[in-house]
């Protein structure tokens, strides 16, 4: 008799699956092929660009965190509802940890 027991090498290797599927906040889970990547999230356009130095403006315009690990980024459900939203994604494993709408802050309990 062979009921599942976590004693063997094989079953110890089984882990929870992470699939490259993205939960659109409006449409639900869809294949990543339907989505378009939009780069780092939470980069707020300065209120008064004229008051910024060249360096400050360049920082807004060009500099990105290039995070290794958990990265907040924008995605658009381009082949679906065409709406933008935010995603927390692990840039090492590509695991998508959570999604949230524009204007919302990332949930604090993700590490």
């Amino acid at each position: 008799m062979n009921m599942a027991q976590p004693e063997s090498r094989t079953s110890a290797h089984l882990r929870e699956a992470q699939m490259l599927r993205i939960e659109c906040p409006w449409c639900g889970e869809r294949d990543q092929e339907e989505f378009q990547y939009g780069g780092e999230a939470h980069i707020v356009r300065p209120e008064s660009p004229d008051t910024l130095t060249d360096e400050q403006w360049a920082d807004y315009l060009f500099n990105r965190a290039n995070t290794k690990g958990i990265h907040a980024e924008q995605w658009c459900h381009a082949a679906g509802c065409r709406r933008w939203f935010n995603v927390l994604r692990d840039t090492v494993s590509y695991a998508i940890l959570t999604v949230y709408r524009p204007g919302e802050q990332p949930p604090g309990n993700i590490e």
Binding site: N2, A4, P6, A17, W84
Partner: protein, 1005 residues
């Protein structure tokens, strides 16, 4: 025709039917169930091809995907497929195949001279010899490739169809051998949705040839029972003749299913696709891909007749083919003994089992001794003698205890077949592709899967467990566990008892010392397809190579279509020894998708041609343009009329005629393809102010305005005219190619940055047909067409829009112009587009109204210095660079504004838009021509600009060009030089970019 090697009974073939086929032009026949390799072996064929570099005759070595030598081109013409492994090609009536190596013929191969010159062709020979002069490599390569000869890609379009399927499953199982089958049963009985993928014609894996008993039944009976039960589950899918070619992130797997190749071209229904690419997302993956037997490395181990022991067993037991009359086994582990027993059962004379070990397993020893086969322990096959038809005899030698030297030579043994087994390499390919790192298991002398990175596990031989009992136990456990992990309650599987030989440990010997027969030109081959030898690896180590990845590239080890399935492990072990390291420290090369070659057709699937690769968009007036004989131009996905040649006219003549008509009479352009975005909401004007560089607060209903849209970096992104239809309601036009990008761009700002703005966007590009009537008679023609609007200057000023009727059709009429002429743009419901166009053509008949295409549109606008975004701009051009400071508001913020005062955008020497007039007015500069300061300068010559638009203008009687020139706005009247590809130098004068009607009298007339 000889069928001398076919056994009278046994095997999984149907002797009642005969299948005829051709190989290298000769007629052969086989039976259903045969592979091409099996049928040819059955008829005494021993040579299957020539090796890649030395052109040595080669026979079949394996019986499956690992085969390096027996590569064939199957089929003719458009349906021909190169580089298939004869060991995997199923026979069908009328099959034609030929060897891919061996030019001009297999029997007479001029490249075989390389074999005699082989001392002059060491590893890296081509790199070392043909590098200089660098430019000649292309010429050398042509001849090297011809001499080397891989298969030929068909030159005709593929008439077959291919498609893709997407699937989800709980448990994905790669491999339908004993471990995979019982895993599938465990998962299925647990309730999971199961996808079982197997490469072969039928399920069973090693059970198709291994004489084992499972639970009191034969292995094949056990397979049949299991398969029947699996097929009874509605959530179980079994794919035969399907290869898991890739394992990607997050348990995304790609499977290549071959659906019709086994029945031959034209036999399946026209609705059946030839191959299918499955894209599968699995919750859990069980890898049960088995193991690949390793060759032993000794002098002359590439002679036809030297075969893997498991392949010998496969040909005998599965295909009922004795691969020769007499045989010897050379092994370092117990599994090789089975080949001796199988050869005996096939009636072959088995003259020896040569075992490297001192202590073979007692049970296998007893079994072969019972057949009176002599076993030579601590011995090796140190070299072989072979003739043109292959192996003749082997040299037996006593090995020193450490395996470093030959102690004594013990004579020659005549044999036609040498079954070799150097142990087994688990097929860790999928585990490695999933991100795992195989680790070396020194007890088993092989690389086994390391820790799992994704939700996968390897069971059975591909996990390093080489007994059938372990395969079944691990498979059952993994199948049930995977189902439980994917949320099912779990089930019950009885693991049956098996009868198999007990196994003694393997004793690796990566390289057999040279024998007495060894001499010039005798080599120990690692990679049969690329002729990489043990000496090549050691040479690479001596020359300083340390990384296995570099050694691979230097020696071509594992570069072939087989990707080193046989030779790589031997190669890295020999490298490890040369470097004084362990195999674990050297590691494996990266296993990349695809596991076996995949056709381009499968990858492309249905996304071919204009219908499905990239859709074609046509305007509502398209059919009229076709009838009129227009030449079309692709603009984005759109087909736009390029020009309308009349009888005998070339493009130049047609464009000249169209341009003259628009300036002197009346022309009409189909402008429907421009992007159109309907913008509504109380904050629409505020939003336009943020998008465009100019001010939109004061645009009244019925008025139009031209605008530039910049990226936040200040560079021009798009342009177009936007009309105020009503308060809070605008219609924006974009460039034809930029429509989708602009809409996405606008949506992104609204959704993510300014969600508080009450603005709603709708793409209406396809809803409207738009035609521009341009020229001195434009107003007259519109009146003749029954326009109910007052079109006169004061009542209908430039840059305004009115709604009315034209030819009885509701229309928006705008007085805007991209030609610089008096022009009206008429927009109607796209369903009415063709009717209006035809009405306009009738109304304009008395004025010889001339339809003009995009080429004339380009010439007319260039005469006026109007830019085309993407032609005269390239993502590095600001409105200021175009000399259009007037369009940039100083009073408000807009996207990109701050960037216009960065140090780089503010510097004086930026490339700026100017006009160019060649000194010879008939000389038309090529677009893209580089511009320099003088006729002759010291190299490197500084490039100071380039030509962005250039035409012959019939209206001006000369050539005109637009160019981007460093500091161009301050160089008016100066001379600049275009150096052309043909070596000529064309001088031109820098001028204002507006060549025609600089006061804009005509648009306002």
């Amino acid at each position: 025709m000889s069928t001398a090697r076919r056994l009278q009974s046994g095997g999984l073939i149907d002797r009642s039917r005969r299948i005829r086929f051709k190989f290298n032009g000769k007629d052969y026949s086989g039976h259903p169930g045969d592979t091409l390799a099996a049928a040819l072996l059955a008829q005494g064929v021993r040579r299957f091809g020539r090796s890649f570099k030395y052109h040595r005759p080669r026979g079949v070595v394996g019986a499956g995907a690992e085969e390096p030598n027996a590569l064939v081109q199957v089929g003719e013409g458009a349906l021909s497929t190169p580089n298939l492994r004869a060991t995997q090609v199923e026979l069908y009536e009328g099959l034609t195949a030929r060897t891919v190596n061996g030019w001009p013929s297999l029997a007479f191969d001029v490249g075989a001279i390389n074999n005699r010159l082989s001392r002059l062709l060491p590893a890296g020979f081509y790199y070392k010899t043909f590098m200089w002069p660098r430019s000649a490599w292309m010429r050398y390569e042509h001849h090297i490739r011809r001499a080397a000869g891989l298969g030929h890609a068909p030159s005709l379009p593929d008439t077959d169809h291919y498609d893709k399927r997407h699937a989800h499953c709980d448990v994905f199982i790669a491999g339908g051998g004993p471990a995979g089958l019982i895993a599938a049963l465990g998962a299925a009985r647990s309730g999971a949705r199961v996808l079982l993928v197997d490469e072969q014609t039928q399920l069973g894996g090693t059970l198709l040839f291994a004489p084992v008993a499972i639970g009191g039944r034969t292995g094949l009976d056990w397979v049949s029972e299991l398969e029947a039960e699996l097929r009874s589950f509605p959530e179980v899918t079994i794919l035969n003749r399907s290869t898991v070619t890739g394992y990607y992130d997050h348990n995304f797997l790609v499977v290549n299913e071959r659906r019709t190749d086994h029945i031959g071209p034209g036999q399946a229904s026209s609705k059946t696709t030839r191959e299918r690419l499955w894209r599968i997302r699995a919750k859990q993956v069980v890898i049960a891909t088995g193991a690949i037997e390793r060759p032993l490395v000794f002098d002359g181990n590439d002679a036809p007749g030297v075969m893997l022991a498991s392949a010998v067993s496969t040909y005998i037991r599965r295909f009922a083919v004795a691969p020769g009359r007499s045989g010897v086994v050379f092994t370092n582990n117990d599994s090789g003994y089975q080949a001796a027993l199988d050869m005996v059962s096939a009636g072959m004379e088995v003259r020896a089992v040569v075992d490297i070990r001192e202590n073979p397993g007692a049970s296998v020893l007893a079994a072969v001794s019972a057949c009176e086969i002599p076993v030579y322990r601590e011995c090796v096959v140190s070299s072989v003698q072979s003739g043109f038809q292959g192996l003749k005899r082997i040299e037996l030698a006593k090995l020193s205890p450490g395996g470093e030297d030959i102690l004594s030579h013990k004579g020659l043994i005549n044999c036609q077949v040498l079954a070799i087994s150097g142990g087994w390499s688990p097929a860790v390919h999928l585990h490695s592709q999933s991100g795992g790192r195989p680790r070396y298991d020194s007890a088993k002398a092989c690389f086994v899967p390391g820790s799992s990175v994704q939700a996968e596990c390897s069971v059975g031989a591909c996990g390093g467990s080489f007994t059938l009992a372990a395969c079944l136990r691990e498979g059952a456990d993994a199948g049930i566990s995977a189902a439980v992990q994917s949320g099912w309650p779990g089930g019950y599987v009885d693991v049956p008892a098996v009868k198999e030989f007990a196994q003694a440990p393997i004793q690796p010997l990566w390289e057999v010392p040279a024998g007495a027969l060894s001499g010039n030109g005798v080599k120990k081959f690692l990679d049969f397809q690329n002729d990489t030898t043990a000496a090549d690896i050691k040479l690479a180590a001596r020359e300083g190579y340390r990384s296995i990845e570099h050694v691979k590239r230097y020696t071509a080890l594992g570069f072939g279509t087989d990707q080193g399935k046989l030779g790589n492990i031997n190669g890295l072990a020999i490298l490890a020894k040369a470097l004084g390291k362990s195999p674990d420290e050297v590691g494996t090369t990266t296993f990349r998708p695809n596991y076996t070659p995949v056709t381009f057709g499968t990858v492309a699937g249905r996304t071919l041609g204009e219908q499905l690769f990239d859709p074609v968009r046509k305007t509502a007036i398209h059919a009229w343009h076709v009838r009129r004989g227009a030449s079309f131009e692709n603009v984005g996905q759109w087909k736009r009329p390029w020009f309308y040649p009349r009888d005998g006219e070339d493009m130049h003549a047609a464009v000249n005629r169209e341009c003259l008509a628009a300036r002197n009479g009346v022309g009409v352009l189909d402008a429907s393809t421009l992007g159109k975005i309907d913008i509504r909401g109380p904050d629409a004007a505020r939003f336009l102010n943020l998008l465009y560089t100019n001010n939109w607060d004061n645009l009244q209903p019925g008025r139009c305005r031209y605008g530039f849209m910049l990226g936040e970096d200040g560079m021009i992104m798009d342009d177009g005219v936007t009309t105020c239809l009503a308060p809070g309601h605008y219609l924006m036009t974009t460039t034809t190619g930029g429509a989708a990008t602009v809409l996405t761009w606008m949506e992104r700002w609204l959704q993510t940055e300014w969600p508080e703005l009450k603005v709603y966007l709708t793409s209406v590009t396809d809803q409207w047909s738009v035609m521009s009537v341009a020229g001195p008679y434009a107003r007259t023609v519109l009146k003749a067409a029954g326009c109910d609007l007052d079109l006169d200057g004061d009542a209908f000023p430039f840059m305004s829009m009115q709604a009315g009727q034209v030819a009885g059709i509701s229309a928006r009429v705008s007085r805007i112009s991209f030609s610089g002429e008096l022009a009206f743009e008429i927009s109607v419901d796209a369903n009415q587009g063709l009717a209006l166009w035809e009405a306009i053509m009738v109304a304009g008949r008395d004025y010889d109204i001339t339809p003009y295409g995009t080429e004339s549109m380009h010439v007319l606008r260039a005469e006026k210095g109007y830019v085309i975004v993407g032609q005269d701009t390239d993502g590095s051009v600001t409105p200021v660079d175009l000399g259009m400071d007037w369009i940039v508001s100083k009073k408000k913020d807009f996207i990109g504004r701050r960037s216009l005062s960065r140090s780089d955008t503010g510097r004086p020497n930026r490339k700026q838009l100017v006009g160019l007039k060649t000194e010879d007015p008939s000389r038309v500069l090529p677009e893209g021509a580089q511009l320099v300061n003088s006729r002759q300068e010291a190299q490197p010559v500084p490039m100071i600009g380039h030509v962005s638009s250039s035409y012959s203008s019939a209206n001006l009687g000369r050539s005109i060009a637009l160019a981007l020139v460093k500091g161009g706005l301050s160089r008016m009247g100066g001379t600049i030089y275009a150096h052309l590809m043909d070596g000529s130098v064309v001088p031109a004068t820098i001028c204002e970019p507006v060549f025609f009607d600089p006061e804009n009298q005509r648009t306002k007339s």
